[in-house]
């Protein structure tokens, strides 16, 4: 455990002295908070929009607006749309850190002395993964709290309850960390197999694509992400996580990394 802690603190000390990484960790949450708040603030209470404009049928999310006024339906639609983005946030933030973790060390030639210490592959990868996961999850949760507080002041009483819908609590506090582990595992796996930090980062971003597709699908009314969908995603991601952690440790070939990368 001491070695894992040491690797985490080393990663943070290095990573947070890198302004680009620091910027990516801080900037994305700010955008994710600002977008829904600005949208909600500019659309106001939906009181002045023509009748039928924000009905569930018009938005393609009939089930969502059951029993709600049109004004509340418009606000709930925005909550639904933007809260989903908080599932993307913990996936996007750690990719830079994680992708750089192995291949970056190799590029800086600091990997060989590190591998010569009595640190096991599991300890090394756990330390590196946690170093990427913890700030991503913490930044997501903190920005979610700020988002909820800001939105609370803009929503009608009817729509406020939807901020605490179990769907979102599960999505943010359970599925979010699982997705973070998924993206970090993929990033470390890729980072262990390629020899350029930029390639590792770009390939790792692939993980975000299904989530963006979900976001677009929801905004176009093609799919409705509800509690069942989120739970199913959580279950699938948990299984994928277990597989990827195992594969990641197996794929980390010290000899290949040391001798074949130039």
């Amino acid at each position: 455990m001491d070695k894992i802690r040491t690797i985490i603190s080393k990663e943070w000390a290095e990573v947070f002295k890198n302004r680009i990484v620091l910027f990516s960790v801080a900037f994305m949450p700010l955008i994710f908070i600002a977008l829904p708040v600005i949208t909600m603030a500019t659309t106001g209470s939906f009181a002045d929009v023509p009748e039928g404009e924000f009905s569930g049928a018009e938005l393609g999310v009939e089930g969502l607006c059951e029993g709600l006024s049109e004004a509340a339906c418009g606000q709930v639609y925005i909550i639904n749309l933007y809260t989903l983005m908080f599932m993307i946030l913990p996936v996007a933030i750690p990719v830079t850190i994680a992708a750089y973790s192995i291949v970056g060390e190799k590029a800086a030639r600091s990997l060989e002395p590190l591998l010569a210490t009595p640190v096991t592959t599991l300890e090394l990868l756990t330390g590196k993964a946690l170093a990427a996961i913890i700030p991503a999850v913490a930044a997501t949760w903190l920005s979610y709290v700020i988002y909820v507080v800001a939105m609370w002041s803009l929503l009608t009483a009817e729509a406020r309850n939807y901020l605490f819908d179990p769907l979102w609590l599960i999505a943010i506090f359970v599925v979010g960390p699982l997705l973070t582990l998924l993206s970090v595992s993929v990033a470390i796996l890729i980072s262990s197999r390629v020899s350029d930090p930029r390639v590792a980062e770009q390939l790792s971003m692939i993980v975000i694509l299904p989530l963006i597709a979900g976001l677009i699908g929801q905004s176009m009314g093609l799919i409705l992400i509800d509690q069942e969908v989120v739970l199913l995603v959580g279950l699938v991601v948990a299984v994928l996580d277990a597989v990827l952690v195992y594969v990641g440790v197996q794929a980390f070939q010290r000899e290949t990394i040391l001798t074949k990368w130039k």
Partner: protein, 300 residues
């Protein structure tokens, strides 16, 4: 302390090291020489459990490679070809991280000890990236010693350093030798190898030879003695050639170069003969072949 039996490493079809047999006792400074691509770094990596041999066995500090790799990593120190420091972190932080990874009990004390020993204490808070090449190398050496390993692998410790920094590093290696550590030193610097090493191995995928520096000379070259004369040397050649133990005598400029089996035994007779013949004998010395001559002869 280090023992290898037919240790071999292949990368796909490329043979990097073949059937290497070494026995290095505790406390020895062992030089490992060879041209680029000869297998020096591969050997160091095998012996520090960074990569696995394709065949053969080896023990380092009493532990078998491939079976007790974690123990080997705990008990050996390695200075890699490049320092590989965390440039954004301070010198002190760099060492503290490694002290913890090496399970050192008194982290702060050990870090301070080696920072002071290598003259880096005053710069301990500075980022390693701001250090000169020599200071980085010293910091990397400190890192390799934090857990007090009895066996130390130094891969090209003075490569790329200026003469002053090289000298400091060499003096530190001498200090480590006095502490009784076993040091496995790979280098291209033959003068350094001669000055520091008890024995030297020359490798070019296969082990070519292992011996003391003077032993290597004896293996390859006959011993030669030079007599500097104040008069014409050629006329003394016929006087010296018939003497016992003398194989050949040549006159070169104002010198006589005699190839002799055992100079310690035969020199007195040669000197006596020259003096009795009226030669103006100015100096007598052994003609030493440099380690470079020996090395080039072996690897050609």
């Amino acid at each position: 302390m280090i023992e290898t039996t037919n240790i071999t490493k292949k990368f796909d079809e490329h043979l990097a090291v073949a059937d290497l047999n070494l026995q290095i006792p505790a406390g020895e400074v062992f030089g490992f020489l060879g041209p680029n691509g000869a297998g020096k770094t591969t050997t160091v990596r095998m012996l520090t459990s960074l990569i696995a041999p394709t065949s053969g066995t080896a023990t380092v500090a009493g532990y078998r490679i491939g079976e007790e790799d974690q123990e080997i990593r705990r008990h050996v120190g390695i200075l890699t070809e490049t320092p590989g420091l965390y440039d954004r972190l301070s010198a002190e932080r760099n060492l503290a991280i490694y002290a913890r990874l090496y399970e050192v009990k008194a982290v702060e004390e050990q870090v301070e000890k080696y920072l002071r020993m290598l003259g880096l204490w005053e710069r301990r808070q500075d980022a390693a990236g701001t250090f000169s090449k020599g200071m980085k190398q010293k910091l990397a050496i400190a890192r390799s010693l934090l857990h007090e390993p009895r066996v130390l692998f130094l891969d090209e410790p003075t490569a790329g350093l200026d003469p002053e920094a090289s000298r400091l590093v060499r003096e530190f290696i001498q200090e480590l030798r006095r502490e009784g550590r076993t040091i496995f030193l790979t280098t291209h610097n033959l003068d350094e190898a001669e000055r520091l090493c008890d024995r030297i191995a020359v490798i070019n995928r296969h082990l070519l030879v292992v011996d003391t520096p003077s032993g290597l000379r004896r293996r390859l070259y006959d011993r030669q003695v030079v007599f500097h004369l104040g008069d014409e040397p050629a006329r003394y050649v016929p006087l010296l050639e018939p003497l016992p133990g003398v194989r050949r005598v040549q006159a070169v400029d104002n010198k006589l170069v005699a190839t002799i089996e055992e100079p310690e035994d035969q020199n007195p007779a040669l000197i006596r003969t020259l003096v009795e013949a009226g030669a103006e004998l100015q100096f007598v010395g052994e003609l030493r072949h440099s380690l470079e001559d020996i090395y080039l002869e072996l690897v050609k």
